[in-house]
Point group: C2
Chain length 336, copies 2
Amino acid sequence: MASIIRQDLSTKDWTIFSVNRAARPRDYKEIKSSKAMKRYEPGCPFCPGNEKETPEELLSINGGKDWSVRVVKNKFPAVEPKEAFGEGHFDNRHVEGPYFSIDGVGEHEVIIESPEHDDNLVKMDISHVEKIMRAYRERFIDISNDPENQLVIIFKNHGRRAGTSLDHPHSQLVATPFVPGYIRNRMFEAQRYYDDFGRCVHCDIIDYETKSKERVIYENDRFIAIAPYASVVPYNIVIYPKKHQSCFTEISPKDLLGLAEVLQTVLNKLYGLLNDPDYNYIIDSSPMDQSGNRYYHWHMEILPRLSTRAGFEIGSEMKLKYVDIEGPMWGRCLAG
Amino acid sequence: MASIIRQDLSTKDWTIFSVNRAARPRDYKEIKSSKAMKRYEPGCPFCPGNEKETPEELLSINGGKDWSVRVVKNKFPAVEPKEAFGEGHFDNRHVEGPYFSIDGVGEHEVIIESPEHDDNLVKMDISHVEKIMRAYRERFIDISNDPENQLVIIFKNHGRRAGTSLDHPHSQLVATPFVPGYIRNRMFEAQRYYDDFGRCVHCDIIDYETKSKERVIYENDRFIAIAPYASVVPYNIVIYPKKHQSCFTEISPKDLLGLAEVLQTVLNKLYGLLNDPDYNYIIDSSPMDQSGNRYYHWHMEILPRLSTRAGFEIGSEMKLKYVDIEGPMWGRCLAG
């Protein structure tokens, strides 16, 4: 039984139901500090020597035994390629009473960021972080070539409060056969802004923040990190390419070092300020059927996990913040 | 300094920035089982005898010293009535560069559900649960009479993983001066369904589930509890009034016992099955300027907090579930 994706009739939101992921391992029983981690953990499927425990390898940087970054299929995938649905697979839409569902067709990969079990993006050589960005780019482009994949998301869950189930540093790539309403709405709002002003809304944000300087956390010649005006969590950071690019597929190989440098720098600021906080980051990119557009601008969103979403945020999707007005303040305390 | 609400230029989402809530108390340092709680806690601001520690009392059921349910203003409000913004308050929209913000005008109340510190909705007399529902109704109607309040949300955070900061059983009411895009989208989808089929989408769900029986968890003559087809978390439950009502203001006093009975029954099932899980519930109702409509149907959404939202769910607003296809199964394991 593969997974299945269902649509809520009233909200148009989608849910992925995955049988596989119920069985995935968790390598701790309680919160464990990364300081207590060993460089090598014999039982860890991502540590060197255990390469046979991971499914099909899709990419290996440096290659062979001395790999520095590996990409493999997720052993407990949320979605799977259409072959998993058998020969009869043709149309993946189903009707059940008044409801719709679609087969959970897609891709779910793991980017193993380092051979070292206790490694951390903040302490790697910058050339190693660049290799991780290269793996992101290569896998993203490869996956987006299959027309079945409509949305590709790359994300990282760092720490237990961020939803990590394995401590060994890794990120994930998921491709889905539909675009969720949440993303459609973002695209629609960006289109509406473009219709009104003739410009990409994110380009306008970058221009304004570059001039005002108040919320710029760090920048180099190709990328800029901003504490957003209406940040959704405390210490929320967004990294933009300075040049307009709608989709992560448009990043060029020579941009990767700049992205690595901005990412590592801002994570280091968070690390120092908040003592290695749990966080998620996500590459938020145009859906494949809208790549190359003028109105949307891909970005990397960093979300420290310092507080718990409660009933109000869930019921309204408004974000409640329990700290001082942060925009300018956070920009300042993270700057320099 | 009162709070302020900001709009994200690209997503149209709103964030409330609250200075006040940073100072609110937390009555534990670590996860504490409700089993270890005392019936009376001298330092708790919601326990009898400490009534002077809470701000203005808005409602007291039974009244005086022997109150059974009290509603008070939140001491650490996320939003505040317009008087808090001073005499100059007239237009609450502001422009800052390319951005918008609005003052955090609104109401934030606490419904203290019982004088007993260790009380729990699952073990109260049903007549007491009815009194809590009565407090919800009276406060909701009162607040919705002020045209400044555009959306009213009542919610409960049970347990630390659900975001509780005080153990004494309580729920909250928040009224905001705008309707978030998330709710506007729900209303729009309901309108679109009504345009297509001439019926309320939720009425159609209730009809279908009543006939198929597969996902009905419990019902009485006035209310029905369903395990939704595309549930957003494991053991997600939705309680609907069987008669079409668009807004919680439309509930009649004689409905309250029926609502109390369905709510207590399904919480009891969760309690038994999952050993007093943390959960949120939310009353999801039409915005005030759309009350009395034909296309939306208020409901109470119960969301157990068993898993952590990680990067993928955050990035896509898709819900990932790590358990067996639940709809039917959960309906069955919760039924009877």
